[in-house]
């Protein structure tokens, strides 16, 4: 049961591993960027797993709420809203660079690009 309560964090660790491996091992730029976004999403899972409270609900307090409702922790949610937007911003910029690299080199495979740069 103890381990089951930590299942979220194990998934977080696994996703981080998959993401990082995808970024570092793949030479294709788009594939690396997909890996990068998995890597970032894993961190979202870490934070959001912290917000859950047993028997809780989303932190929206209606004006006539009975006082004994348990709410989830709002702070990690706010932080992750921010982080999601950072993630898409980075991805968009990375993709734009990838498109320009394709136009300048004719490929988006890093090993080929390295070869071409070495010849220069």
């Amino acid at each position: 049961m103890q381990l089951l309560g930590l299942y979220n964090y194990f998934v977080f660790a696994t996703l981080l591993m998959v993401g990082l491996y995808c970024v570092l091992a793949r030479t294709n730029i788009i594939k690396s960027l997909i890996g990068l976004s998995i890597f970032q999403s894993a961190v979202f899972l870490l934070y959001i797993s912290m917000d859950k409270v047993d028997g809780g609900t989303a932190p929206i307090i209606p004006s006539d709420a009975p006082p004994d409702i348990i709410y989830a922790n709002p702070l990690p949610q706010v932080l992750i809203l921010t982080a999601i937007v950072v993630g898409i911003s980075t991805t968009a910029l990375g993709l734009a660079v990838a498109v320009r690299i394709r136009e300048a080199y004719g490929t988006i495979e890093e090993d080929k690009i390295q070869e071409m740069d070495r010849e220069q």
């Binding site: 981080l16 990082l20 970024v23 730029i29 690396s32 990068l36 890597f39 970032q40 961190v43 870490l46 934070y47 912290m50 702070l75 990690p76 932080l79 921010t82 982080a83 950072v86 911003s89 980075t90 910029l93 990375g94 660079v97 990838a98 320009r100 690299i101 300048a104 080199y105 890093e110 690009i113 740069d117 220069q120």
Partner: protein, 496 residues
Amino acid sequence: MTLYDQLPALLIAVPLFTAPIAYLLRAHGLPWAAATAAVVMTFIISCSIAATVIGGETIVYEMGGWPAPYGIVLHIDALSALLAMLVTGSSAAALIFGAKSLADEVGEEIAPSFFAAWILCTAGLTGMVVTGDAFNIFVFMEISSLSTYILVSAGPDRRALVATYRYIVMGTIGATFYLIGVGFLYMSTGTLNTMDLAARLGDVTELRPVLVAAGFITVGLALKAAIFPLHSWMPNAYTFAPNVVTVFIAAASAKVSLYVMMRIDYAIFYKNIPNHELQLALLLAPMAILALFAGSMLAIYERNLKRLLAYSSVAQVGYIALGIAMSSVAGLTGAIVHMFNHGVIKGGMFMAVACLALRYRSVNIANLAGAGRAMPWTMAAFVIGGLGLIGVPLTPGFISKWYLVLGALEQGGFGAFLVMVILASSLLAVIYVWKVIEVAYFKEPRANAAPIEGEAPLVMLIPTWIVVLTGIWLGINSYVPVTLATLGAETLLGAR
């Protein structure tokens, strides 16, 4: 609230307010003017804040009027003021210096985004320096990184794009590591405010998440600061960025990550994790020593002048990391002073390189034969900067190495080894600086080389020399940086 009380917020608000305006200005030269105005303004603000905190006072500014730890506060002490001056000062100097060179390198079409990104890069770095909230550091880190990517990608060569891509990947991994670290800290303490974190960590009994958090934050920031062997993104980013951008990011960008590392490792972990100074030393000292040698060696064998200076930065970052690893007042003072002094030295040298590049259309060292005669003032500036890198007395580099050696001597037997390392690396610096001097002063230009138009224009030469003279002045009278740095080091170690 008087205007004076609002200064900390204005430090961030002025650039953030100006950036959208600069983005909408489509007329020739106006985006540059808006950026320069905003950045000079922030420089003046940070100088006046530094004048307040040099007495040992700490400014706390509650954003939105919400007290810590519920809201975000700005927390400015001597150390942050010194770094804020470095960031805004180098940004302003590079912009003024680059008025002509940037018009040359950056197309009219992308000028609005380029200069808006420049303003926001300054704001992001300043924001990281003055904030007192661990998550807020991440937000401003992303502001500065994303805008740096834009600045680097504006470089004329197609290799600038590949350099930008590598920088994006490594920068994002570094920032995400930092975010994971902050997540574990939040898990252990329930707070994000740095002061509150430091206070609450003492009560934490289950130390594993905290230890891992310390590791993630330190490694993430080391990646951002390009500490060897995590520097792979940096040489090409410096080399292929527009010359003036290199002046700015070489002077300020890595330093801010080192500052955050110092801040978090000392203000938060040092007092709360048993043996943290040992852990930090075991992680950072080997990296720093390797950086000193590897950076210098790579610089010696490098043929491209910009990349040579970038590798030299890898070595110089090693000095700073070494100072951080010492956990003593002298070592930290050395590290902090060196952050500032190296910013001034490298900024000046990259300015000289930009002048050379304007006339020679190349930064390959072999092509610069005869530069000592064709461009005497530019090369003189470069040589003075080079002496600073070596650490000759009367240059700012001497002051910081002096403190580093003092710090090393406190370490006992191992300290003697560190002193040897510092001296040996300085000798290697002599070699790579000499290599450039030899070509520029003692080699005849090739017969078929195009004649050089002469000295760089005064709009570039005067700012270069202002920076060089500032460096010399700091070498002779280092009252301001040393006072602020000593104060900062004492605060970090809790000696005050």
